[in-house]
Symmetry: C2
Subunit: 483 residues, 2 copies
Amino acid sequence: MDLDSIRARLVNEFRQFIETEYVIDDTETQKPFECDGLSIYRGMPLLVVLPETVEQVQRIMRACHAAGVPVIARGAGTGLCAGSTPSPEAVLLSMSRFDKIIEIDRLARSARVQPGVRNLAISEAAAAYGLFYGPDPSSQIACSIGGNIAENSGGVHCLKYGLTVHNVLEVQMVDVTGELVTLGGDSLDSSGFDLLALAIGSEGMLGIVTEVQVKLLPTPEVAQVILAAFDNVQAAGDAVGAVIAAGIIPGGLEMMDGLAIRAAEDFAQAGYPRDAAAILLCEIDGSQAETESNCERVSTIFKELGATEIRISQSEAERALLWKGRKSAFPAVGRISADYYCMDGTIPRGKLAHVLTEMETMSQQYGLSVANVFHAGDGNLHPLILFDSNRPGDTEKAEEFGGRILELCVEVGGCITGEHGVGLEKIRQMPAQFSDAEVSQFHSVKAAFDPPGLLNPGKGIPQLRYCQEYRSLRSQRDAKSSG
Amino acid sequence: MDLDSIRARLVNEFRQFIETEYVIDDTETQKPFECDGLSIYRGMPLLVVLPETVEQVQRIMRACHAAGVPVIARGAGTGLCAGSTPSPEAVLLSMSRFDKIIEIDRLARSARVQPGVRNLAISEAAAAYGLFYGPDPSSQIACSIGGNIAENSGGVHCLKYGLTVHNVLEVQMVDVTGELVTLGGDSLDSSGFDLLALAIGSEGMLGIVTEVQVKLLPTPEVAQVILAAFDNVQAAGDAVGAVIAAGIIPGGLEMMDGLAIRAAEDFAQAGYPRDAAAILLCEIDGSQAETESNCERVSTIFKELGATEIRISQSEAERALLWKGRKSAFPAVGRISADYYCMDGTIPRGKLAHVLTEMETMSQQYGLSVANVFHAGDGNLHPLILFDSNRPGDTEKAEEFGGRILELCVEVGGCITGEHGVGLEKIRQMPAQFSDAEVSQFHSVKAAFDPPGLLNPGKGIPQLRYCQEYRSLRSQRDAKSSG
């Protein structure tokens, strides 16, 4: 059957149990679903469907399973790895109508929510009980908890409070055949295999999440931010290591380099020192007593390691202002460059200075500037490669440069993603990280959940044939560059 | 081929690459491997092999895979769910010679160790750097980190520091075909599916762990224990909830009931109030300032909720003594009863009083006493059922009573294991927790890692046919008891 007939048949079937307007088959209305936050990847879907109940999701999955049609789930569309990019053969299943907070349990310190609920909305609802939800991606105003689960999202505070995988207790998920399964539960341990962690970060490849129970954390009594300026990046990197080695776990520990500092300062007027080579922003939170003592210890460490300036926020307004600069770093860089490509990789903390030096060399090779903003405490880099998509060849150069940065992360013992996921974007670098045996294992697990391979096909896990090509091309390149 | 011929062939093959004495084929030398810590389950192996290198493990797995012979991995043998009970058709693979601490990385706060290293040995080696390994099962002097991974072990401090799954960064594992794969890594996030968490708690059913990287935590500046006595169990249960709801996360929060208190006091002379209906032991740790302030807050909460006595440890010796009573509760109960059966289940904190009352009713029905010792903070129960294996029918009654306790845990929204795992012991209660769709999913995942089903067969996951029988028998039983 051709795609038009399949579309017509599914539209007809879906409209028997979903209101007409939520089954979208015309190109114009489909347009907003064309890409996620990484808009260099685009595609049109077979059709878009927006169910509202678990039963509707089950019926959609049953119909698609019977017809052999792939399904791509989508949350709020803020993802940065092209994890929910549509494809013309696949139904795009938007979970945005699953937007209810079902229950907040103060004693168990947990919230039960639908996957379309915005990340920040959970903390807002929990605030009345003195609780909050830990992971705070920069997109937290807009991104949904279902999308956070798909990508195992982090945020500034994940150094202390962990990623999504550390903060979810249970998910309910509709599998490829339409069966509803529960993974995880209230308890710390759970019998059987730990399928919960497997589902988190699985990018819609194992099932469609329809309900989530998250942990809530007690809101710290106080929080203060320490800004420290350094006249070289090495010293700033050493200071990060020294804080961690001293046994202090800051709420967040962020680094920005010169280019990022100046762009952010022009945009946000946060009072950052424009002439610094690097700044650190270190948030200390906890009880009053604990915060005071840790602020003092961290300031001492920063001074000993050569900080040229130290500022401790004296009010909530000042704390918010110091963070405003960091949080607006991406749009700020957007003002100084036509386009930018935000990378995401992780390295061991000790390799920070080495990786920054290598990136500087590559930046000169490719003729493209890089601004660095990163979660230094947990070694999660976000280099922003500046380019101009109207300049011929620039986009390709930026993509290649980005790929090389990811390979560098793996070379120093790190990982090709920190919190953005793999999706379509980083699937090319997966063989740099994983052996064929490991990639095969991913395929086996995928097949265990999704034997016909209908859930978000082509994302996340590369084909073995591609891995072999990659290795052969890369060894040619390495031979050339060393020859 | 009969078992004797298979044994002879494998012994011959193994001795080509492993010293003769480490390939054990005589019954007498095999005897110590007959059971793990749950000695009511016993069995003899086909043969016992103790490899020393990863390559030897790979060769063993290749040989067994080729011959279609099952393999049961064993750590220190301290497990409490019959997870490594031998079987006459299977090779018993003891990892006890993998006992080296490979590296401690102070800056990354991690340790790389072989799986046979004892849990406590990691903290001892890390102490020089002011670090320790979080999970602390009661058996920590003896149990190995590989066994901890198999069962996702916890301990008194897991309320604050998490279970094994929260403290392992990477495992290297030999799969059923002899291939070496790495799961997880240094970074907080990892690309691809999260197979690391899947491996933790998988009871040797997915692969043989050969190397482990664990997180280390900074040793808290100080720790103090608060003992609070209550004249009824309900009040003690409420006090646990109130501490958690106040936003305090104690290092540990344990409860003991009257029978357990008196047995422990007779044994350890810790100064427990012998006439209390329940005591709580609450450990507060952190910086000096934080600990002082939290001790005060917790004491106030305990007083408000009716504590009849409160004692705060004033020295390390006093803290150790207060814990000694709790830690020796199992042997202490062993003195007052010929045998005891230690159960392990988890319930929501709010159901504590209800579950204790129900257990009391069952205790009268079965005519067997129960002493309760538990990790109250995270709802992990350890009821000790007292029985006498020399009294005909007593063992069977204890087992049935234990099964009913696990079912009760599931009924109130809990889980049939807290930290001991499923193994042979709790496989019968798995259908109380999981639907057929969920059990099928476990089988698919198992098959993805181990297509021929050679790794620790018959443990952890029940057959679907058994699940159906269980449901039918249980509905008959429920009809009878309500009829």
